[in-house]
Symmetry: C2
Subunit: 334 residues, 2 copies
């Protein structure tokens, strides 16, 4: 029997809590610590905070230092979408000599937006001989890794299109609000302009595809528009009148000069008739892949992150991305 | 500019020749040697033998030893489907301290059928600090790696089905003959019984999926039946009368006790209306993936093998499989 992998959960919000519940089902993972800055959670048992149905004998700590000092093999980090917001948290984990897998979207492929910070994280991880990975379903899988994997069968790749449609109707209320469901178009535009309303990660996915497939991309553009309800949409949580916003319609385009090489389109809205993840590769041969029914966002982000734990623990030291590691289901080891 | 990866092509039949032609398009790969036992090829320029359209300044050698002694970073090995037939060839490459990527189907996941030989190859590769990988499109990608990759988004996996339909009508004559096109059903059955007629790799794919997803498989069964032409089929190369064999219909099933956990179905025949690669994962969530139009076999085997070269060169020493390495298109490095 192998030694279990000792995990520290950093951030026990809804996604972090779901990570904990999934990890409890995996033999071979042992949760040895938990961190959350929320004073309402500090000192409480992680099982209670994560609604795991039982006590885990692990107290949530408001401070990371003592938990990291006590040691572990990997930190599962779920605190923010923005890399600059979490850089100190990540560096502290690396300095403690602990591997990190994080859902920070901007960490999934940070080299274009944050080149200096990428170099710093990479060199720090190498110094400490640990690996750092940002992943999740999107970015991290559905709009990047899946296309890269499919391209393994290609002789040539000229251009890539990825389309993801997510029906937000059956998702939790925060997700429905996050995509702007129920807003007027003007409110939506104002929230986009204020940087409040946005799904993060499309430019990161485009950059990962460009570098992975050797596409000479010189710029990546992103647009965020509303999906407007054509008829009234009623979900468990809210109602969207016709003409109001049902969700987001985001597109990232990557170009080499005037030529578009990558097109990534995400529609995430309530009332979507059909969820789908589709990849088209133009090249030799032409390829069309579809996941009909789509890949569920919240479930999948939690799964991807937990399933990557064993690979991150044994990865080459440094800043890794979904592109670098073999991704697979982790059944747990005993 | 990085040092190029120095490649030795071992086996210059139709597939090996296609490997050479594709490698010539990849900056960062340099073909430094070639081996083929065929006396008709020995001494000739590899470019001529591989119909590359130009001389390459590399003579095909009937003996491996001098080529391996001259050195290289990786051998691209394309000589036989059977592991016992190629074990000496593989060991000789490993003993020379050279990494190997091979299309030998039985090498793709050899642990069940050849446990001792697997251990020998693994330990020899580790001793020499090189990696050895058996791969290709099937086994190696379409009926194993694709399913494993998709399962990354799962919380639980209970069972897996993979269906691959290949229209052999537009494939080369040897492939059409290999699947038995034109035979009577009796001839087909006799050739199956004699071990002549078979697509190799389904049990290997089933074993890779079982181990990768932690499915407690205790036995794998395989059946080979004819696809019988319902009406006359005419291809560029041959004609199949109604009632004659159009191709193979192979199924591998993996069980835990009485329960079927893995179902792999391959139909490769002339006159197939539609090629497709489809993966269904039963679990949480349920997933359905389809590559409509399918993944072209010959093209893809060559692509998968060449695209894996950089990963094999930097892989952990030992016997690796498609499961262990990140698979992606290799655009070439300059």
């Amino acid at each position: 029997m192998k030694e279990p992998i000792r995990v520290i959960q950093y951030g026990v919000g809804p996604i972090g809590a779901a990570m904990v519940r999934l990890m409890l089902e995996k033999p071979g993972l042992e949760i040895v610590g938990a961190v959350d800055v929320d004073p309402a959670k500090a000192g409480k048992d992680l099982g209670e905070v994560a609604r795991a149905g039982r006590k885990l004998g692990v107290a949530v700590s408001a401070a990371a230092a003592p938990v990291l000092k006590a040691g572990g093999d990997i930190v599962v980090h779920t605190t923010s979408s923005y890399l600059v917001d979490v850089q100190e948290q990540l560096l502290e984990c690396l300095d403690a000599g602990i591997n990190v897998v994080s859902t920070t979207e901007e960490l999934s492929y940070p080299f274009r937006k944050h080149p200096e910070l990428s170099r710093l994280l990479d060199s720090r991880a190498r110094e400490r001989k640990v690996a750092l990975l940002g992943t999740g379903v999107n970015p991290g899988f559905a709009m990047d890794k899946l296309a890269l994997t499919l391209a393994t069968v290609c002789h040539k790749v000229e251009a890539v299109e990825v389309r993801r449609v997510v029906n937000a109707s059956k998702r939790r209320l925060p997700l429905q609000k996050k995509v702007g469901a129920g807003l007027t178009v003007e409110e939506f535009r104002a929230q986009v302009a204020a940087g409040i309303l946005k799904h993060h990660g499309l430019p990161e996915s485009a950059a990962m595809i460009a570098d992975g497939l050797g596409l000479a991309v010189d710029r990546i553009e992103e647009t965020i528009d509303p999906m407007v309800a054509e008829e009234k949409v009623v979900t468990e949580f809210l109602e969207v009148a016709a003409g109001r916003v049902a969700g987001v319609h985001q597109i990232a385009r990557a170009f080499a000069g005037p030529k578009q090489l990558i097109f990534l389109e995400l529609k995430m809205y309530v009332g979507a008739k059909e969820s789908i993840d589709a990849v088209t590769i133009h090249g030799l041969p032409e390829l069309n892949l579809a996941v009909n029914g789509g890949i569920h966002g919240d479930l999948a982000t939690v799964a991807v992150t937990v399933n990557c734990i064993p690979e991150v623990v044994q990865a080459r030291p440094g800043l890794r991305t979904s592109r670098d590691i073999p991704m697979c289901f982790f059944p747990g080891t005993t």
